[in-house]
Amino acid sequence: MARLHQQPICLASSLFVPWLTLAAPTWLSLSGVGPCWAVLWLLPWALVDGPVSGFIAGLCLGLVLDGLSLGGASQLPALMALGWWWGRLGRRAPPIQGSFNLGLLAWIGTALVGLSLWLQTLLIQFDSSVSWLHSWGLNTFLAQSLITGLVAPLLVSWMLLIWRRLARA
């Protein structure tokens, strides 16, 4: 059984994550906030390829995305943890296929990434403007988790279908 990380085309698909993060299509956003593309790619990858691969994929994505952002808060810890957790779910639990389950997992994952970023920002900006940061953080947290949870059933189920076929081949 071929693993996903041994197939160049599957590895190359990860390039869509930084590309879509930079492109930030405005037509796919909620309150100006787009979906978390890293979560949408990492979820099917980790479910198919296992916890170690998911952990490493989360690490690689986190490094790239941190390099593309202004700095300060990092996505790295949350993405690594999600890659590991989803990999374990894919290995030990019955295969996850339902659209609702995928949407829920993506929503939880984005919420964890958002919570991690929010807490880091609050720690970094602890000296001032905490109340202002609360309103901004809450808006971004809710908008991003919701739009990612809505997009996931369409995108993740399709990626999961293709990658499971490739992994069985």
Binding site: G32, S69, L133, T140
Partner: protein
């Protein structure tokens, strides 16, 4: 006793000859006294179909804009000359380069722009980035071909500004929302909603006297100093090209 012919002719002359003229003069006197009332109104009524349309108004407005731009150019030249005499940083338009916005995330966890020009074009960290209307942010990092802009709204953004009307300084702090927060340095900034916020004329890091925004609300009860919410003039959501002030 009958009426003499002389008397009869006088009556005729009086009523048929003099009186209309007297009435005309009287009417004109009223016009004069009322500053042309009636005449001007009648002229306005009759000439309304021939009044200048929107095209002529636009011509006049464009002429006024051209005149104002010329005045502004002259004032900027004067300003540069005076700043040179005072040995302050230059704020001329000669050091500005245009750059396309190739990526834009004005909302979200990181509020930034990605520009299509970088170190190879002379852009360096800390350079000011301007859009139509005023300051947008500062260059946070550069690659050979791109530059990343930290918007004024981004958490962590801090820029020294002042209010030209009251000549009070403050710190414009990005708090993630579309309206950054102005932290005054004085306890009595005398700022009111509607005041213009600009870069200090003594600034050597950013272009001096560059407009930034307009105060929307003032919180006088904040401690240790009042706070204000500032509406930025340049909106990053709608800008495809920016200008970078290189140093």
């Amino acid at each position: 006793m009958g009426v003499s012919p002389w008397q009869a002719s006088f009556r005729w002359w009086r009523w048929r000859g003099v009186l209309p003229w007297l009435l005309l003069v009287g009417a004109l006197g009223l016009v004069r006294w009322s500053k042309g009332s009636g005449f001007a109104d009648a002229y306005a009524l009759l000439s309304r179909p021939f009044w200048p349309g929107s095209a002529q108004r636009e011509w006049i407005q464009s002429g006024i804009q051209l005149e104002q731009q010329s005045k502004l150019r002259l004032l900027e030249q004067d300003n540069q000359r005076l700043r040179g005499l005072l040995a302050l940083g230059q704020a001329s338009g000669s050091g500005r380069i245009s750059a396309a916005v190739i990526s834009r995330t004005p909302q979200g966890w990181w509020q930034q722009l990605e520009l299509g020009k970088g170190r190879l074009h002379g852009i360096a960290q800390g350079d000011a980035v301007m859009g139509p209307g005023g300051l947008l942010g500062r260059i946070q990092s550069v690659t050979p071909a791109t530059a990343r802009v930290q918007l004024l709204t981004a958490p962590g953004s801090r820029v020294g500004v002042w209010i030209p009307r009251t000549k009070r300084h403050g710190l414009l702090v990005g708090v993630g929302t579309s309206r950054p927060q102005l932290e005054f340095l004085d306890k009595n900034p005398y700022a009111v909603p509607g005041d213009l916020v600009s870069i200090s004329p003594a600034s050597t890091l950013l272009p001096s006297s560059l407009p930034v925004g307009v105060i929307q609300t003032v919180d006088d009860r904040a401690v240790p100093a009042p706070l204000a919410a500032v509406q930025l003039i340049a909106a990053p959501e709608a800008i495809d090209w920016v200008q970078v002030q290189i140093r």
